[in-house]
Symmetry: C2
Subunit: 455 residues, 2 copies
């Protein structure tokens, strides 16, 4: 197999030494690692297709990855398989300012896409927490969300087309620059969020939007999580759709303050980061309404970013939550449950009760406007007894979420970490349908096998 790869790629595009393979053996997910036989760095779609053909001929599983920031183990190698790392396919190929589109190779870092859009007065809205390092290909494979999801939606809402290498090594182009197109099935939507199990996305045609004229960032703190949740409900009920409504609990506030030192009130039980963007007049009005609603819900403090530097600082505080929490204990397990918005406060309370019941440290933060929570277990993978309690707690949280009409993963994907729980969310007929689609598009089970489900 490696001999065949060497016929396709230059020596510097192939890693096979154990010490070189190790960094490609894990991603952002705790407690998961595996070793590939080779890691390859194709520079063109044709090279990707050629590698997939070698994999097919030699029956070697293929796992595709970008920067490896995934949080469900979706890019963990299959033992002795090939890892296709797309970070060398990192060119922005076109910005079309007339049609408001951008075409990029899969390995472009998400931040670079928004930066390129910004230079034209445009915005690429999906902004996953990892956007400074994650690649757009990884975002598409996971249908990544972000902090602006409430108003702007997720990655799927911005993918107009893609080039994809299929399991048989064929290259297909799906989609176009039309804002409306109903010719044939929307196959691109099948590949978005398929976590590299159905095909390898190599190029992406993205939709951009005019960059909002103004932005206002407000930080409100509360004595009580209920008040924060009620503030979110009242904002939505007032028909305001802010771009951001992010929540941090006290543990997270304290860790972030300790990490970032930006003067967060560590005595607060809950913090809301609220951001409005759009035309100045709307932003002013929305910001004023949101402040009034927070005050009405007994906000302890309200801080309005005086300028864009301070706004960035406040948003960075939220973005650093995971890193800040990861310093506390050896192992950080970041969860991703999502419930219908109306059930959010109850879900937060339930998670608190589960932490008490199992005597665990669970920090909580997330995209409150989306109903998407990131309960974060601060634990130690070397303590099997504690990890057992973590597993019991996770199981109860997933059960609760599904019972509430929610999902076990709002934006991180299923990967390896959640595949045991996927059948609980899907009824029999729909779970079989998932597997059926996989078998049909990848009959040899070559592409990221063992992720999402076993066959």
């Amino acid at each position: 197999m490696i001999r065949q790869l060497r016929e396709i790629l230059r020596p510097d595009q192939i890693l096979t030494e154990i010490e070189d393979l190790i960094p490609y053996g894990f991603d952002g997910t705790a407690m998961l690692k595996e070793r590939a036989q080779a890691v390859v760095f194709p520079e063109t779609t044709e090279e990707v297709a050629a590698v997939v053909k070698v994999a097919g001929q030699t029956k070697t599983p293929v796992v595709t990855r970008g920067s490896g920031t995934g949080l469900s183990g979706g890019s963990i190698p299959v033992k002795n398989g090939i890892v296709i790392c797309l970070v060398k396919m990192d060119r922005i190929l076109e910005i079309d300012t007339k049609n408001l589109t951008l075409t990029a190779e899969a390995g472009v870092v998400t931040q670079a896409i928004d930066d390129a859009a910004a230079r034209e007065g445009l915005i690429y809205p999906p902004d996953p927490g990892s956007m400074k390092i994650s690649t757009i290909g990884g975002n598409v494979a996971n249908n990544s969300g972000g902090l602006r999801g409430l108003k702007y939606g997720v990655t799927r809402n911005y993918v107009m087309g893609m080039e994809v290498v299929l399991a048989n090594g064929e290259i297909a182009w799906l989609g176009n620059k039309c804002v409306k197109d109903v010719a044939g099935y929307s196959l691109k939507d099948l590949f978005i969020g398929s976590e590299g199990t159905l095909g390898i996305v190599t190029k992406i045609l993205l939709r951009l939007l005019p960059r909002p004229e103004a932005r206002k960032t407000i930080l409100a703190t509360f004595n009580d999580i209920e008040q924060a949740a009620q503030t979110v409900s009242d904002i939505i009920a007032a028909k305001i759709i802010p771009c951001t409504l992010e929540f941090l609990d006290q543990t997270t506030i304290r860790c972030v303050e300790d990490f970032a030192k930006i003067g967060l009130p560590t005595e607060a039980k809950a913090l809301l980061l609220m951001e409005s963007d759009g035309p100045s007049s709307v932003v002013e009005a929305e910001a004023a309404s949101m402040q009034a609603i927070a005050t009405n819900n007994q906000a302890l403090s309200l801080r309005v970013a005086a300028n864009s530097d301070e706004a960035v600082q406040l948003a960075t505080a939220r973005r650093s939550a995971f890193s800040a929490l990861a310093r506390i204990r050896p192992t950080t397990i970041l969860e991703d449950v999502t419930v219908p918005r109306s059930k959010l406060a109850a879900a937060v309370r339930f998670i608190e009760s589960i932490a008490q019941k199992h005597n665990l440290q669970i920090a909580n933060f997330g995209h409150m406007g989306d109903g998407n929570l990131h309960p974060t277990f601060l634990t130690n993978e070397r303590d099997p007894e504690e990890i057992h309690r973590v597993e019991l707690a996770l199981h109860e949280i997933f059960e609760y979420t599904i019972e509430a009409g929610g999902t076990i993963t709002g934006e991180h994907g299923v990967g390896l970490a959640k595949k045991a729980h996927l059948p609980d969310q899907f009824a029999d007929a729909s779970y079989s349908l998932l597997q059926h689609v996989k078998r049909s598009l990848d009959p040899e089970n070559l592409l990221n096998p063992g992720k999402l489900f076993d066959l």
Copy 2:
């Protein structure tokens, strides 16, 4: 087969007499009709599933339909097949004002959905021209667009979940009320726009939005189509995304005026219907900018609707375009090509040149902001020589559209009418993939066979 159907359904749920079958033999598409063996009216999902099982046992093709307003022949029966007409499944099951969702059976008329939303201060944005009679199930099967698509997107953007009867008669539920969910493939996206060929959608969970506070409707006329197209480009370049930017050419203006008598200036070569909605302050500012841009592009006349009655009247003028044109000659063939927005003016010019070249009457109107045109052939199906020229013209228009990076159908679907042209738009690998997905989800080719492509 009919005996088996009678075991499942009451006699009044089954039509088998020729005179009863005829009205279910055609839809809104010219020149297409076929006769089924039976038309059935299930009232529950279980009845739909039972009918599909009978179809499977007896190898009888099934075509699902709602009100039959389709414009690509997607719901034309298969000869001697079963037609499942879902109009009796017409209940709105829930409006959830906390989560801004609505759940409806597939046979609910689209207008009734928006009306129900409006009573709660909410809006269901997709508004196909046929919304007063078309069903939501038909809208989902075709991923219908509408007049508000520029700002609000299409049906797909509002479907959060669905119940679907699969080809084997199993019932699957896909999706939930979470605004974010990445657990498993997005199978609902595969069924949306699949024109009844992969499954039968029986219930739909829809996302609603807060109803915009204000709305302003402006009608501008021009001496020249270029000026209208430039007005659209300038509006987008000014970072305004109005909810509606509709275009009518002179033939359409004259027909509509003759039909609706609302004082349209029939000497104008082009008309733009522009609508802004949202917070009052934004609407005022956007409307003022759009008027200035139109004036700047030598608008002949500008008319601002004084009140909501007049606004509805102006919008109705646009909505009546198809009916108005249909009165001119015996046969009306409504096309649906879509190009990237930047290529729209050139596409309009090209269609005019094709009309001249083939000596045909082609009226043109459409969703200019979306790049979606409805060139409408006013012709006579009983004149084979003229119909031959129509076919030549259509072929050239499709070729031009695909060359321009466009699509042969922006919102009407492929159905029977465009299936011969689908391979021209899809490269080999992606066309095979469409067929492969169909074969895999409907191995017996029972569901709407012969639509989109032959197998």
